[in-house]
Amino acid sequence: MTTDIEVDKAPARMVAAPSRFAMPILPALSLAVMVSLVLVALFAPLLAPHSERHGQLQYSLEPPVFDGGTTRFLLGTDIHGRDQLSRVIYGARISVSVVVVILVFKTLIGVGLGLVAGFFGGIWDSVIMSTVDILIAFPAFLLAILMAVIFGPSFFNVILIITLFIWPPTARQVRVEVLALKQQDFVTLARCAGSPNTRIMMKHILPGVIPTVLVITTLQVGTVILFEAALSFLGVGIPPPAPSWGGMVSEGRAQLTSAPWLSIVPGFAIFVTVLATNTLGDWLRDRLDPRLQTL
């Protein structure tokens, strides 16, 4: 009689942890999406059938092939007669480069400062962690708009602004990891053996924080893409005529009634990309670092 109660008693947390979507097929599929996106970005000039910047006005607003169009323009054309498929392909290039550059910078800053804060403690810790707290509380999106208005929209500014607001969670988490690792026996041993601080940090502590950083970074891919897309949508991100997906949705909106595909397709590209990276990130988190539930 009591079995039924026993069953739902103990494993409450264990049931909650591994996601139903953590089946290997979904992460594998997500990884495939991400890899093909990078390949598309790398080989954009070979893959794009037309120019992404120069249109032919006589082909303005051609429908895509699934909406009665021709195979000449598989995903239709915009009001300037630019091929949407080519623009989406080059848009992948923008998204991938924005993500890669930002995440490299944020990892360097976040891991570096997190290591220093956790390892040295004291004044370093106070200053770095106060900065982290304040930046996390910042209304990042609004300040990004203000900065973009003032410095003008450009690729460089988008990188700078998003990096500024994206590194604090990494630093915070790395610091926590370092505090735990610092107490471990192998660190004490290395210290007794006379290893200098920099060597202990690089050789003994840094490898221990890599899984956490990997999880956070994967989960932040989606954040960066959505951030950039939102800025570009508002006209303060990557400036036209560069085919940023967010900017394309914004441009296509004017023809929502006559050419809905111009709004549907680039937004769908964002959606699929973010869905893939989030799925992979969730899976990695469950595998490598289940404590990071709040991220």
Binding site: I5, D8, K9, A12, R13, V15, A16, S19, R20, F21, S130, D133, I134, A137, F138, P139, F141, L142, L143, I145, L146, M147, A148, V149, I150, F151, G222, L226, A229, A230, F233, L234, G235, V236, G246, V249, S250, R253, L256, T257, P260, S263, I264, G267, F268, I270, F271, V272, V274, L275, N278, T279, D282, Q293
Partner: protein, 304 residues
């Protein structure tokens, strides 16, 4: 506990200081306001006169202080575009933003709590899986795109609801769903995990053994005890809505503060953008502070 609250207050004040310095610094870096107020051919004396008039010849800290203290009294200067006080512009637009935020918040709470609660009660079921699929998809769709897709389906194709503007309740439906959608996923997750924890506790099992119905167990017995993290998250959600309103108001031409920011962006009206960023920032910082303090009061388990 008093120490913790004092610490949070000092922290909030420091955060506001940094935010105001960043806003002030960014705007000042953008160029010389005196140059922008006069024509290029104007003589140098006129330029100096303008600088004196705008108090730009004073030391920077004094200028900063003047700006902050005036802003604290509700004086945000004159809109470069409309030539009326920014505070007037903001106060005429504020009701629209609040109306949208409240509607969106209602949608978020309704969806997040119900779906999260039932997913916890029937975990592993089709409903649970569908809810999580919904959450995962909702977090991946950019809100501006979702808004446009809703317009496409419900305004352009089906012609059920208006595509934008403000008016009767039908105008409110699509923007409220778009704005309220993003936090649904998070609220659902938090509700689900808190409720699962509570549902496996002894008193809930006792209630079940006594023969209390599942719905009653869920909302009467479990929810009251699992509510704290949910409430905390729910109050943070409201602050998040303020941020989302810029995008959603732009998509639906909703005449609130968010749309005013975008108009300011397009008109290069720094005064307006600066004022609204400052307002939104202070709401977020002090909102966070209030949530922190409430959390301490509501949760006797925390001993700082």
């Amino acid at each position: 506990m008093g120490w913790f609250i004092a610490q949070r207050i000092v922290h909030a004040i420091f955060a506001m200081f940094v935010i105001t310095v960043v806003i002030f610094g960014t705007v000042r870096l953008s160029g010389d306001p005196a140059r922008m107020m006069i024509s290029d051919e104007a003589p140098h004396e006129q330029y100096l006169e303008m600088r004196r008039l705008l108090l730009l010849d004073r030391p920077i800290p004094e200028q900063y202080w003047r700006w902050v203290s005036q802003a604290a009294q509700g004086d945000f200067g004159i809109s470069l575009r409309y030539q009326i006080p920014v505070s007037e512009l903001v106060s005429t637009r504020l009701p629209a933003t609040l109306e949208l935020a409240v509607a969106a918040y209602g949608f978020t709470l309704l969806m997040g709590l119900t779906i999260g609660g039932y997913s916890a009660a029937f975990r592993g079921s089709v409903l649970d899986a569908a809810a999580r699929l919904l959450a995962v998809m909702g977090q991946a769709a950019p809100n501006f795109w979702m808004g446009i897709m809703l317009v496409l389906v419900f305004a352009v194709w089906l012609n059920w609801l208006p595509s934008g503007g403000r008016g009767e309740w039908r105008h409110l439906v699509l923007p409220a769903i778009t704005l309220g959608w993003a936090p649904v996923a998070g609220l659902m997750r938090i509700t689900r995990s808190s409720m699962i924890e509570v549902l496996s506790s002894d008193y809930v099992r006792l209630a079940r053994v006594k023969g209390v119905g599942e719905t009653s167990v869920l909302w009467k017995h479990a929810f009251k005890n699992g509510a704290l993290p949910i409430l905390t998250f729910a109050s943070l959600v409201f602050l998040g809505l303020i941020r989302g309103s810029v995008i959603v108001e732009t998509v639906f031409f909703w005449p609130g503060i968010g749309l005013l920011v975008l108009e300011g962006v397009n008109n290069r009206d720094f005064q307006v953008v600066q004022a609204i960023v400052l307002l939104f920032s202070s709401w977020v910082v002090f909102g966070n502070l209030i949530v922190d303090i409430l959390y301490v009061y509501l949760n006797p388990k925390i001993k700082h």
